[in-house]
């Protein structure tokens, strides 16, 4: 297998598709990184499930206020125009279709748009948080993920084998190797690393990759 994008580069690529003025929810963990790469001249407005819209970046260490945190329980900051609201109003924003984009991590994504990202099975303590609401709320649900699991198995599949977070909800996947859209129950390849052949990418993908027009080069700066 040839080179792949770092997590930061995947996050950078996803950030390029967020338009100016977009209302955005970033899943906890890796997806939070997308906020760092807002293109110049564009201002996204970030929503967090626990009741803040329009918050700013992390404070300097020691400057945290633990009543001002995001869904991942990390400290954030106020910005001019921030608003607070309660949890039912927060999920009215989510479920009511008011978010433009949600960007989430994934264990598995199926060509049908099904997503599995909350449970690796019956072992351990299950925890779901707001993921199941986000996948059925935001106008556009995108996933950022390594293209394969740590042991090299495909994460883009014909169908998910892990417990589902949502059915037919994901429309775009940004991976370490490619950008893949989900259209009418099929994976449509939009961009791939130039160093990687279509056949190589297909061999790392658990369902057929379709073409619809050309495939652009997936190129990211060092970030």
């Amino acid at each position: 297998m040839t080179g792949k994008l770092t997590n930061a580069q995947i996050a950078w690529r996803a950030a390029q598709d967020i338009h100016d003025g977009a209302y955005v929810n970033l899943g906890i963990g890796f997806p939070e990184m997308v906020a760092r790469f807002q293109p110049k001249g564009r201002q996204a407005i970030f929503h967090t499930e626990n009741g803040i819209l329009g918050f700013g970046e992390a404070p300097a260490p020691g400057q945290e206020d633990w009543d001002l945190i995001n869904a991942g329980k990390k400290a954030v900051t106020l910005k001019p125009g921030t608003a607070f609201f309660h949890h039912a109003d927060s999920f009215a924003m989510v479920r009511g279709g008011h978010l433009d984009v949600a960007i989430l991590g994934a264990y598995q994504v199926a060509q049908t748009g099904d997503l599995a990202n909350w449970s690796t099975g019956p072992k351990g303590v299950p925890a779901v948080g707001g993921a199941m609401d986000l996948v059925h709320g935001a106008k556009r649900v995108a996933v950022i993920t390594d293209h394969v699991t740590k042991d090299g198995k495909p994460k883009l599949l014909d169908r998910c084998t892990l417990p589902l977070t949502g059915v037919a909800c994901v429309t775009r996947v940004y991976t370490s190797l490619a950008v893949v859209d989900i259209v009418d129950g099929r994976f449509v390849l939009r961009e791939k690393l130039p160093s990687l052949s279509f056949e190589e990418l297909q061999s790392l993908t658990g369902a057929p990759l379709h073409l619809d027009g050309g495939v652009a080069d997936l190129t990211c700066p060092e970030v």
Partner: protein, 244 residues
């Protein structure tokens, strides 16, 4: 991002014929008189928009605001809880003549249907109206031994509301009981247009005091010193003004 719009005419320019429009206000309190009158101006100048469905608690009072929209013939249907007022003649005459349709909804059900529209809840159960004419034909269900009516969400193409202070991101506060339906209508409309008495920069509203977060707002137009429907009616105003 800046949601401010230059003037009232621009603010209402996109509302097409046949649109469903939620209009804030309970009686005169919270009625966005200047937005409504700008819409009437457009109709008188261009013949559009017409055959509107208007959602409001009432159905107009006197000859200004919603009553004036109805009087001019712009409204095909009212969805409301209480189409009576101190001077309901405009609606009453059109209704009795069969020239306007009425969907009568209990007030709490109206509010909850609008809130559901904004919150992505397609249907809910309420005890309100069970066993009455207003629940006829609606699904019923029993929960824990009590009977309930299933009600559907209510959404709109546009909401026209009045707020007290608005920043350019769309965060809003209201003035006393003028708040009423505005926050939920802002949630339930595809495009929410707000006249604010005071426009401020982001940061001009305490984040704790924001009632409607900007995500629910699409356009802001400043209208300092807005008219009160009640005052207009006490002065026997008509819109447009009747030539003397």
């Amino acid at each position: 991002m800046d949601k401010r719009i230059e003037n009232l005419a621009q603010a209402v320019a996109d509302i097409p014929d046949g649109a469903t429009v939620m209009i804030g206000g309970f009686g005169g309190s919270g009625a966005p008189i200047e937005l409504i009158h700008a819409l009437i101006d457009r109709y008188l100048a261009t013949g559009s928009p017409r055959t509107l469905t208007v959602i409001n608690n009432n159905a107009g009072n006197g000859h200004v605001g919603i009553a004036a929209m109805i009087e001019q013939g712009m409204v095909a249907k009212m969805v409301c809880s209480f189409p009576r007022s101190a001077d309901p003649r405009v609606f009453t005459e059109k209704y009795l003549a069969g020239e306007i349709e009425l969907e009568l909804v209990p007030q709490g059900t109206l509010a909850e249907r609008i809130r559901a529209g904004g919150a992505g809840i397609p249907a809910f159960y309420t005890p309100t109206g069970f066993g009455t004419d207003l629940a006829k034909g609606k699904p019923v269900a029993e929960f824990d031994g009590r009977s309930y009516v299933q009600e559907r969400w209510l959404k709109a193409d546009f909401a026209l509301i009045k707020a007290e202070t608005g920043d350019s991101l769309g965060n809003l506060t209201y003035r006393m009981a003028a708040r009423n339906f505005a926050p939920i209508m802002a949630m339930a409309a595809a495009r929410t247009i707000v006249q604010v008495s005071h426009a401020v920069a982001p940061g001009g509203i305490d984040p704790e005091a924001v009632v409607t977060p900007g995500i629910f707002v699409d356009a802001i137009v400043e209208v300092p010193n807005p008219a009160q429907e009640e005052d207009l009616n006490r002065a026997n105003a008509h819109y447009p003004e009747v030539a003397a």
